[in-house]
Amino acid sequence: MVQYESELDKTLAALADSNRRALVERLGRGSATVSELAEPLGMTLTGTKKHLRILEEAGLVTTEKVGRARVCSLGPRRLDDLEVFVESYRRMLDARLDRLGELVEKQQKEDEG
């Protein structure tokens, strides 16, 4: 379970950036080299490589050296819709219960005071 959660956190963190989401979407249409990815998105090669490394660590992208170019494809980890919903729900529930507790405990103190 802990393992599962850290994997999911990594995935969500990797996707919490619009450039990286754009890279994932582009790769969803087929493999591409780093420069083929960078150019249409208006990104630098260095920046693209940095984002690709984060996506690769999260398992969302794989890269392979072919000749002098590095070819990128979607990785083994696909984000399951339900997984995303459950995780975001869990965080919301946690925050909600925190605030509910704060409210009722504050009200209770005011009544006692």
Partner: protein
């Protein structure tokens, strides 16, 4: 807070939570069911929560809306109350309008601990609307970029 005990995921379809609050059960029940109190705790701190609909009785609907600031995107949440047993049990559905098709069925039980404290037990079961309607949907499509965008905003807002 007196008791941030735990929230755990059981399998991939169920979340159980448990908290102890230093307040009597009637107060906790009021916070859960009074539309005037909902904006004070339901949403993330930095958001304004507006109660659009809140009809607390079996079959009654609820809809709350979060907004970070005037003019920014709104996040709507909605559901239906299935069971309302004052002051100890509420069962309701939960759906985020940004990710339609997934629903959680939330059961909240309020236990009077007898010393002025109240324990809340929550169980949330996840279904797709297809399952709710009696079909099993095994092929869950990957989220579109819009979903990710909205998810990102939502998670960021949770801190």
């Amino acid at each position: 807070m007196s008791g941030k005990l735990k929230i755990e995921t059981v399998g991939d379809r169920e979340i159980r939570g448990e908290r102890v609050f230093d307040a009597p059960r009637e107060k906790v029940w009021a916070a859960l069911t009074d539309p005037e109190l909902i904006p004070q705790w339901w949403g993330p701190r930095q958001y304004t929560t507006v109660v659009d609909v809140m009809d607390v009785r079996p079959g009654g609907q609820w809809r709350f809306v979060h907004q970070a600031e005037e003019g920014s995107d709104e996040h709507g949440f909605r559901g239906v109350y299935r069971e309302v047993t004052e002051p100890e049990r509420i069962v309701q559905t939960f759906e985020w309008e940004g990710m339609p098709g997934h629903i959680a069925v939330e059961t909240m039980e309020l236990e009077d601990l007898g010393d002025g404290r109240t324990k809340i037990n929550t169980v949330s079961l996840f279904h797709t609307t297809e399952e709710r309607d009696g079909m099993f949907n095994s092929g869950m499509e990957g989220g579109a970029s819009e979903t990710y965008d909205r998810l990102e905003e939502l998670l960021a807002s949770q801190g």
